[in-house]
């Protein structure tokens, strides 16, 4: 058995001491005694996830776990022959540096990219993912944990971990709230406990008849 995982840094396992051992994809695969195929990338966007699905032979996988990245990310094909991810929020905090590509991306973030466009593109990407995986065991999750950036997941994912209010702290520890909040590490990614919670939810979803 082989399970396909894709997403952004959350699914990659950022901020975990050992991503290969404690990220949720590994826990899920251990449960099913399956081969883990995790191609998530830090900074990856929804379009990358779609592009990956189109470029894979999906018949080779028994289950699919897709984590929708933030809607505000986009990607372009660089002169180096690589797909490069970009985030308008991050670009708007940067200064121009006379690098034509860098400066154009900043202008694109400033003058062209809008919340409306982000919503529209995420809905297109969500629809295509759902369509490609329609007859296969799958779950689409969203981790909208950076509440300060506004809502980053605007599509009806199967399981949404979202912060709808400023997280409360007790003795320095962030508390889990009713908003499907999961324990996070310092920079906002799920910590080891968070990954365990996600893994449990994913296993439950994939083993329950829909």
């Amino acid at each position: 058995m082989k399970i396909y995982f894709d997403g952004c840094s959350h699914t990659w396992g950022a901020e975990l001491l050992d991503p290969n051992k404690s990220r949720y994809s590994k826990i899920v695969c251990d449960h099913f005694n399956a081969e883990e195929y995790n191609i998530a990338k830090r900074g990856g966007g929804c379009k990358r996830v779609v592009r990956n699905l189109i470029n894979h032979d999906l018949s080779q996988y028994d289950m699919f776990v897709i984590e929708m990245p933030s809607k505000i990310r986009f990607e372009y094909f660089s002169g180096n022959g690589d797909w490069v991810g970009a985030s308008p929020n991050a670009l708007l905090n940067k200064l121009k540096n006379n690098d034509p590509v860098h400066d154009t991306l900043i202008d694109y973030a400033k003058y062209i990219f809008t919340e409306k466009q982000a919503d529209s593109e995420q809905l297109i990407h969500y629809t295509i993912i759902r369509g490609l995986l329609e007859n296969k065991p799958h779950i689409i999750i969203g981790l909208d944990l950076h509440y300060l950036n506004g809502i980053n997941i605007s599509v009806p994912v199967d399981k949404l971990y979202a912060v709808k209010e400023k997280p409360k702290k007790l003795m320095g520890k962030v508390l889990r709230t009713k908003d499907n909040f999961i324990p996070k590490a310092h920079r906002g990614h799920p910590n080891e406990e968070g990954h365990e919670i996600i893994a449990k939810d994913v296993i439950s979803w994939l083993t329950t008849d829909k």
Binding site: R51, D107, L132
Partner: protein, 188 residues
């Protein structure tokens, strides 16, 4: 019976003296169906995807989608605006009557010259095609291309052999040919 048509100027009926001779009308007349043609001049594949997502598709009996140039897209600024990279004159075309600020014009020009690539255009086109196909997969449909869409597995892809008017849009004869091809698919 109602038939849904979307596309760009080709499907809108540019260069025809009478829009009643566009292929959507000929097909609708043949089936005695209501013609629902929301094609727009300068429209992009992304606009067609957005339109499909914003419509209740159960209201239509058949779908005809005409994919367009892969360098076209749209952006949102007080409504959805169309934009196209004119590869012949190496400039950005903005469609519609709204004025476009110089910052937006310059940014799109820089975007198309520095960021936009053939790979990005191909990737976007394949994604748009896949989502369109998925949305209408279980309904009678055809997806056609009138130019530059030959990398996609379309039902019909028309190139130079299609009778055309001066500006490159299908002529009356061209529209008859497209209508005839689609009708001969016997989808309804």
């Amino acid at each position: 019976m109602k038939i849904y048509f979307d596309g760009c100027s080709h499907t809108w009926g540019s260069e025809l003296t009478d829009l009643n001779s566009r292929y959507s009308k000929i097909i609708s007349n043949y089936y005695d169906a209501e013609e629902y043609n929301i094609a727009e001049r300068g429209g992009s594949d992304k606009r067609m995807v957005r339109n499909l997502l914003e419509h209740d598709l159960t209201q239509y009996d058949m779908f005809v989608i005409q994919m367009t140039g892969k360098n076209r897209t749209e952006y949102y600024y007080n409504g959805w605006k169309k934009v196209n990279w004119n590869t012949i004159f190496y400039k950005v075309d903005f469609k519609g009557k709204d004025s476009v600020s110089k910052e937006i014009k310059q940014t799109w020009h820089d975007y198309y010259t520095l960021i936009h690539t053939e790979e990005l255009a191909d990737s976007n086109q394949l994604i748009n095609y896949t989502v369109i196909k998925g949305l209408i997969e279980h309904k009678p449909h055809v997806i056609i291309g009138i130019d530059n869409s030959d990398k996609l597995p379309l039902n019909f892809s028309y190139n130079k052999d299609l009778p055309r008017a001066k500006g490159g849009h299908p002529s009356e004869l061209g529209h008859n040919k497209i209508a005839s091809d689609i009708i001969n698919e016997n989808l309804l």
